[in-house]
Structure formats: C-alpha cells, structure tokens
Assembly symmetry: C2
C-alpha cells in the first residue's frame, strides 16, 4: 500500500483508492470496480466529501427500516468488500442478518475470496457461494440469489449496486436501501431509501444510528419511515451539489479579479 | 473487447471504458488510469457528454496557439495512448511536432510499449524513451524530459495531466494547453488554455480546427488568442454543469409529482 500522510487534504479519498487497488491485486475487486471508484470520487468531490444533511436523514430512515425488518439481508460486492469489510460484518452482527456475496462480474473464485474475507472479520452467516434461486428479470449470473438471504428478505441493503438489480429487487416488493454517490443514478432513483454518501462514511453512520435507535418503540421507527421522502432527499442532494459548484465559481471569480483578468 | 451495441445511449462512454480496460491488459495504461477514467466519466456525464460551447472556444484558441508555436510538443501518457493513439499521431503529423511519452507511474516497459504503439500508427518522432533533462520542481521520474521535445517547446499539449506537472511547465514559461474534464482541477486552473471536454471528442475537434485555420494569417491567429480568457471559459463550463443539474432536478420534480409524492 502506498504511504499517504494523514495530513493530506484528501487523505480519506486516497486511502479508499488504495483499498480498491489492493482489492484488485488480491482478487476481491474486479478491474471495472476501479472505474466505479473513480466515478464515485468525482461525485464525492462535488458533494464536498462530507455527509450531507439529506444523506444523514436517509441513513436514519435506513436504520429504522432495518430495525423494523423481519428478514433483513445485506448485499456485498467486490468494491464493498474492499472498502468496508469489517463494518459490513459489524452491521450484520448488530442486525443478526446474513451477508450475501453478489457480483456483477461473477467468478466463483472471487465469490469465495470475498466470503473468506468476511469470515476472517468474524462473519457468522455468509451466503452467495451456493445460490439456489434467481431474482426475476435479471440475466445470467447476476440473477443468482439464495433462499434465507436476499431472495426471501423484506429489507435489503445494496451498497454500490447497479440500477438493473435495484429495480428487480424493488419489483419483488422489497424495501431496498441503496448507498450510491450519484443522486441521478437509476439505483438512487429506484431505491426505497437512497443514501447519497461515501460508503466509508455511510456504513459507520448507519451502525451508529442503529445502535441509538435500537431501544425505540416500533411506532417511533414507523414514524421515521412515514416522514421520509426519497424524492425530497435526492432533490436536496442535487441542491447541495449546486451550492458546491456555485461556491467554487465564486472562488474562481475572486481569483480571476485578483489576477487582473 | 466486450460487445456493446451502437444503439446503447451511452455507447461512446462504454467504448472509452473498454479501450482503457484493453490498455491495462496490454500494459499501456496503469491500473490507476482506470480510476482516472471513472472520474472523467462522471464529469462528462454532468456536462451532458457533449462538447460545450466554452470547450469549443478553448479548442479554437488551442488550435491558434499550436499553429503559432515555433516548437510545439505533444505529451502522451497511458490513458491518452489507450483512448486516442491514431488521433494523437495525426495531430503530431499536422503540426510536424514530436510526441513525448511521459508517465505519472513510469516504467521503462510501459514507455516502450506506448512508443511502439504510436510508431505502429505511423508516428515519425516519438520521444520519452531516452530522457536527457528534467523539468524543474518535479520529483523523481515524473520530472524526466527530452531536449527537442517538451523541455524546449514553447507550446505544449498535455491531455489528462496532473496539476503538479501542468504548474511546473507553466513556470518554465510555456503556453500549456490542457484537456481535462474537471473544470475545478488544478490542471484546468493553472493551464494557459483548458479544454474541458472528453479527449475522444476534443482531439478530433482540435484536428478539424487546425485544418480550417491553417491558411489563416498570423494576425488572425493572434487575435483569437488575445480574445481568449481561460477564467471565463472555466466559469462557463461550471455554469453549464449547473444547468445540467438544474434540468435533472426539474425532471425529478415532475416524476415526483406524477408519482403523487
């Protein structure tokens, strides 16, 4: 791993990039996963590399939905495994939920490596190595699912997921929680709850909110969900992107004036 | 190469991604180049994946600067070589300018492969394999340069370049032309002329403008340069990004209303 000083203004972003590069080297992450990471970096940059108020509200709603779930399940792909393996295991343990490995570019070797990685972090229930059913409406190996995991779940967390699979899970009647830095993606548009935040901030934040809400009466959790609008959340995220760009334009104007042009 | 139907709405973007993936497989592009490609994809998406008016103006100014140059030089790295090798060779031939391979993550093997690729496309003057001097203010192998190439050039084209190297070349007194999809990057901010456009559109556009300007009197070319403001160009690019986000927000509002939420 390249040595990055903690004082670097973009330390967190560079560390995430290193984790993805390590994931590719270790056979956890696909090469295409590096392009996905790059796309996310730009959105995070335009959002100011911080958890927006709207993302925090979405995370609270996600915590409530996961606590109310009868059969929650957590999806893990190669980028998720590279970026937050310990945190996903902690989340699964808190919720007593299975982790299910699901890959866009499936290879049995990669599925096994990711499952082993999760188990090395203490995961007790890891699915995905022996799928026994299919998500309707998806092609090829992307449809593969497991009974007792995502297939039967009422609430599913799908971090860094593609739009097709998000839509297919919504069509099955599930409450789908996405973590996706692009507020305009099909995943964000179609999910029940879209957390527009960097996964490295979002999962720890989700764990914290689940901890603090875990003693709450069901009615309070239901009220949180009732008050939540995913459309408003995405609209607010776009508004915050605009504000960032406007602020940068002002800086540019100031710099331009002081340079005399 | 994955088979992508030409009818796909994001065909050009997916083809570019395939070229980068092929570049990594063939040892032309570094793995980090895939993350850079992903970052670019997001900016291109926010710009609507088309050449903006401001980018077209910058390309015109770049054409004028290259035609007025006494010793132009063109820099080529692993992403440039993967995306537009034939076009860079055509540009070099039009300008009778050297192509110089310069890598952020230098390896002699990769330099040689890129030089061979450019020669296979007909390049007559390829430098970078035997650097004989250094760009002041840069560390390690990134400083390596060649006399008769970028080191002595008065006008340098640096597509997909990092901010450090851009700044160092500007400090040497050169006219530096960048091609960079991030209007907020240090490269865009520091370059003399910043073309905020996808390199796969920008280089053919630059070739076309050089062809149509090549018979013009020097005074006309000088007037184009005099009228050009890089600050205004970047400001306009940011404005077009904002307009795109505003348009997407409106769509979201309409979709939200029709869904009754």
């Amino acid at each position: 791993m390249t040595d990055i000083p903690k004082s670097h203004p973009r330390y967190a972003s560079l560390m995430a990039r290193e984790r993805i590069a390590d994931g590719v080297r270790n056979g956890i992450t696909s090469a295409q996963g590096m392009i996905a990471q790059g796309r996310g970096e730009t959105f995070d940059y335009i959002l100011g590399e911080r958890t927006m108020r709207s993302a925090d509200r979405a995370t609270l709603a996600a915590a409530a939905a996961l606590l109310l779930a009868e059969r929650p399940a957590l999806s893990v792909n190669g980028n998720v495994a590279a970026l937050v393996p310990a945190e996903m295991v902690e989340l699964a343990s808190l919720l007593n939920a299975p982790l299910e490995v699901n890959l866009f570019h499936r290879s049995e070797d990669r599925v096994r490596k990711i499952a082993d990685l999760l188990r090395s972090h203490g995961a007790r229930m890891v699915l995905g190595e022996s799928p026994d059913c299919r998500v309707p409406g998806l092609e090829h190996s992307r449809a593969l699912a497991t009974r007792g995991g995502i297939y039967d779940a009422d609430v599913v967390l799908i971090p860094l997921e593609d739009g097709d699979r998000c839509e297919a899970l919504v069509r099955m009647g599930k409450t789908v929680i996405a973590i996706d830095l692009n507020p305009l993606s099909r995943t964000s548009m179609k999910a029940s709850i879209s957390i527009v935040d960097n996964i490295m901030r979002a999962v720890p934040n989700l764990i914290g909110k689940i901890r603090s809400l875990s003693g709450s009466p069901r009615e309070d959790l239901q009220a949180i969900l009732r008050d939540y609008s995913n459309r408003n959340t995405l609209s607010d995220a776009l508004l915050e992107m605009q504000e960032y760009i406007t602020a940068r334009m002002r800086e540019l104007d100031t710099a331009g004036r002081s340079a005399g042009r």
